[in-house]
Amino acid sequence: MLSNLLPRLPRRKLLLFLVPAAAAFIAGCSTGNPQDTFDTAGPVADDQAALFKFIFWIALVVFVIVEFGIIWITLKYRRRSDSDPMPVQTHGNTKLELTWTFIPTLIIIAIAIPTVISIWDLSDPPAGESVMTIEAVGHQWWFEFKYPEEEIVTANELRVPVGQNVVVKLSSQDVIHSFWVPKLFGKVDMIPIRENELWFRADEPGEFFGQCAEFCGIAHALMRFRVIAEPVEDYNAWVAGMRKPPVAVSGGAANGQTLFAANCSSCHSIDSYQAGAFDREEALQDGRWQGWLADIEDARIVSAPNLTHFGTRLTFAAGIRDLDRATLIDWIDDPSSIKPGTRMQEHAAVYQTSDGTANLRDSEIADIADYLLALVPGDADIAPTATPANGGGGGDPVAFGQATFAANCSACHNTTSATLVGPGLAGIADRAGSQVPGLSADDYIRQSINEPTAFVVDGFGPVMPGFPQFGDDEVDGLIAYLKTLN
């Protein structure tokens, strides 16, 4: 008989065994791994873990009573032989029933009270303390972070000062994602057409792993991010750096800059240090999104992580790789070998090759990688307006216009008839005069640049940003240049 094989543990020894076993369970829970929900570093995760542990100890008592009760009953009352006497036929006992209805009810009340207190406590940051607001937007499959007060846009790495209460406004551009940093806070979903909110505080400096927690498609497993909590002075230095232009590049990196402008800049912004860039990036991301939606199969544009001062990042590809040159080169050459399903390879023109790898020479890929790694804040204090390198209006207006176009417009407008975010501009001179009655070609283009939303071409959204930094020279140059496009 099977039951005879089971050891009979004396009860006292059982207790001696159980208590350390339970302690080991809790200790065993804290692994020190990067997403350990017990190794907490802030008040929100602290409270959530404390509530879990409180319920755990109660559950453990119930567990021991029921599980050992079942084993004990089974062994004690097992039929030893088929001639065992018929047991007494008890049908029930109302007092017992009432007792074991009442006691679980008390246990549930004991759990419900701290639960409800905790729900309300954690729903808002502590009253009266200063709060900093960040916006987090979920994209398939990366996280966009925006600091509206500092006008910073970045991706996949959220920098916060230690000890600062942070409110994160959560939204999504496409499907439902969930925003979660186990050591700092439990997850809250990022949902399209509705805004959610959570708050947290990092009480100690460190690099905290985050990961999307709602199934969001093919690369869901590879949609991760980091929260970097640093002392306030380091954080302030980072903020200041994000407002400065990058260091000048030369050599291979300069070649990389040209290649980046030609192949990558439609989707990746790198200039969000500029004044006004914060609002523009929002419009650009929306435009890229609309561009993708309009032609999901063949769009050549998708919303993509902002790469401003990319060289300061610790990781890339949505937190799945440490940032180093060799990995970055592999990534640029064949992104889906690192992150299957990535939209970049599916859509960017440079990857439309027979084997899907980048249509670039190895040296060119290395140059782009060098350029990206060189994207770190320079020494200049004030972000200059987007003045092209060849100076003001003194020279050839068409050349000046072309340079202005390359720096400011080419992310969204192609010079052929192909649509990117905005319409392709070939032949604009011929049709500009007939778009709006009463406006000449020159006036139409001028109005489109100065007041982009005054007239929007059919089939496009009102997403083009204003360019307040342009003077008359820039606008005149652009008009002269655009009229040369056929």
Partner: protein, 631 residues
């Protein structure tokens, strides 16, 4: 009446075969339909198990590229869909079909042809969901199909459309089955069997059937909406055009949580039969077990948003759903304690069905306790969508529902087939399954608490989850060996038959009073019921002396009855005749719905076939008059 219906011309003769494939296609016998449900569900169980093994193979190592992310997403979507809709629900349906008429002393269910329709719809719906394995385009949006990720914008393949269509058809099957069993249980009980003399399995079937009839329409509506979103560009859940993806979650879980009890209540019914039989004691606290079942089913409607604690419901709604969810622990706890009390001072026979039932209590308790942890919303914010949840519901659905189903298989197999399943091999099956199950799912608690999200096709070694995942995969392998051992057990027992007789377990309910396997008419004479567990007291009338308020039945009364009916021999009992129309109607529905994907001419074909089936059915009498009666 009869003469008008007889005048309808028939293209096919009404099926009469009693053996061979045609006897199965036209059957309306609840026992045969139960067998069809059981075999089909078990085959799906093997498919779902293979899907699970492939998932575990991929996750056994960090950074593994054994299975592509797209295939992985298809695997976990189909594993969940299969195990919920094509395994646990129809396994329960197999027991409902086999046992309800036998337990209540009836000759069939109330609507035998509708019963056949339910089965064929279930079969064809399940096949439609699985079409993708042949087109390379299986459903990949999760068994929960969250919008807008399951919408056409983000999921342009045909998989999720087949998923919505197939599930809609399964829903029709479930509603029809639910209605059938409600009417059967209310109307067809043997004389004297009042509601509170019914076996608990019958009670749980009744409660489950009510849940089916109320809950399935909710998901039915949602599936039609998400289907038209995908097929015709409607905007119920398409957030790009202003549809509300959170509404889908409310609809899905408003169905989905009652669904959890649809899955577990029949299991609780099975356990409530097995434990008293092998303890040789009545079920302790019968009314409390019944009312806590009703309580669970009722409360089950007020807890759906605990699946959505991370959606941003606000603290007031979150508190309300946290409390209502915790409250379900009270009736559940009552059941567990009553089951334990049933065993106390019993004479416990340790054999395979009993060990599976005892394991049900042990494993289900673990799942219940982790359920209370999820109810605590702040704690759940860390656990939601992690492997802790995966561990939780596998303890409920595998450790709970499937352990009970295996208990039921070992318990009722002799009744259904006439021969015993070898018990020594059964013990090996039980041991391997319990061991493998715990090795596979217990580590997932730690993985979840260590921050491993669900539905990820890979993780990196720096995340630190490799050891426990390897352990879980090893457990999966042992579990699979356990299932193979079960197949061997069935094969061996069939080859070396040990006949069971009417009542091999010295059991308590009416099904054990008739031969194994039962004749097609079940009961020669409809029994008259005096007591709960009436059959038990027929065998042991002396036990009644100890009962309050019961007077022992006069000895010998039953013998007289039996003698009187033996002459009968089952002849002259009118049972519903076989019919092809249920399978024809079901095929028409499935072909027509599949035609939404395949082309409009297919819809026409399905429509004609379906209408033919329904009209033919409505004009066909339940019984053809017997020739000797007519002439």
């Amino acid at each position: 009446m009869t003469s008008t219906t007889m005048s309808i011309p028939r293209i096919f003769d009404r099926p009469k075969s009693t053996s061979g494939i045609w006897s199965w296609l036209g059957t309306v016998d609840h026992k045969r339909i139960g067998t069809l449900y059981g075999i089909t569900a078990f085959l799906w169980f093997l498919v779902g198990g293979i899907e699970a093994l492939m998932i575990r193979a991929q996750l056994a190592r960090a950074d593994s590229d054994l299975i592509s992310p797209e295939t992985f997403n298809q695997l976990f979507t189909m594993h969940g869909t299969t195990m919920v809709f094509l395994v646990v629900m129809p396994m329960s349906a197999a027991f409902f079909n086999w046992l309800i008429p036998l337990q209540i002393g009836a000759r069939d269910v109330a609507f035998p042809r509708m019963n056949a329709l339910s089965f064929w719809l279930f079969l064809f719906g399940g096949l439609l969901i699985n079409v993708g394995w042949f087109t390379g385009d299986s459903p990949n949006g999760g068994w929960f199909g969250y919008a807008p990720n399951s919408g056409i914008t983000f999921n342009s393949g045909s998989g999720m459309t087949f998923w919505a269509i197939g599930l809609s058809i399964l829903g029709v099957a479930s509603i029809a089955a639910g209605l059938n069993f409600i009417v059967t249980i209310f109307n067809m009980r043997a004389p004297g069997m009042t509601l509170f003399k019914m076996p608990v399995f019958t009670w749980m079937t009744l409660i489950t059937s009510v849940l089916l009839v109320l809950a399935i329409p909710v998901i039915g509506v949602a599936l039609i909406q998400i289907g038209t979103d995908r097929l015709y560009g409607t905007n119920f859940y398409n957030s790009i055009n202003g549809g509300d993806p959170v509404l889908w979650q409310h609809m899905f879980w408003l169905f989905g949580h009652p669904e959890v009890y649809i899955l577990i209540l029949p299991a609780m019914g099975i356990v409530s039969e097995v434990l008293p039989t092998f303890s040789r004691k009545p079920l302790f606290g019968y009314p409390f077990i019944v009312f806590s079942g009703i309580g669970i089913a009722f409360l089950g409607w007020f807890v759906w948003a605990h699946h959505m604690f991370t959606v941003g419901l606000g603290p007031a709604a979150t508190s309300a759903f946290a409390i209502s969810t915790m409250a379900i622990a009270i009736p559940t706890g009552i059941k567990i304690l009553n089951w334990m009390a049933t065993m106390v001072r019993g004479s416990i026979k340790i054999n395979t069905p009993m060990l599976f039932s005892i394991s049900f209590i042990a494993m289900f308790t673990i799942g219940g306790l982790s359920g209370v942890m999820h109810a605590a919303a702040p704690s759940d914010a860390q656990q939601q969508d992690t492997y802790f949840v995966v561990a939780h519901f596998h303890y409920v659905l595998f450790g709970g529902a499937l352990m009970a189903i295996f208990s039921g298989i070992y318990y009722w197999w002799p009744k259904m087939t006439g021969y015993m399943l070898n018990d020594k091999q059964g013990l090996v099956v039980w041991f391997l399954m319990l061991l493998g199950f715990n090795l596979q799912f217990a580590p997932m608690h730690w993985l979840g608490l260590d921050g491993m999200p669900r539905r990820i096709f890979t993780y990196s070694s720096e995340q630190g989850w490799e050891g426990l995942n390897a352990l879980a995969s090893t457990g999966g392998l042992i579990l699979a060996i356990g299932i193979l051992t079960f197949l061997f057990n069935v094969w061996y027992s069939k080859r070396n038959k040990v006949m069971a007789g009417n009542d091999p377990w010295d059991a308590r309910t009416l099904e054990w009073s008739i031969p194994s396997p039962p004749p097609h008419y079940n009961f020669e004479q409809i029994p008259e019921v005096e007591y709960r567990d009436d059959f038990w007291y027929q065998k042991y009338p002396e036990l009644l002396e100890h009962e309050d308020g019961h007077v022992p039945a006069p000895a010998g009364a039953q013998d007289d009855d039996e003698a009187a009916h033996d002459e009968h021999g089952g002849h002259g009992i009118h049972l519903p005749d076989m019919s092809y129309y249920p399978i024809m109607a079901a095929a028409g529905v499935a072909i027509g719905m599949g035609g939404l994907m395949a082309g409009y001419w297919v819809i026409v074909v399905g429509g004609i076939l379906g209408m033919w089936g329904i009209i033919g059915w409505s004009l066909e009498p339940v019984n053809d008059p017997e020739p000797d009666v007519e002439h």
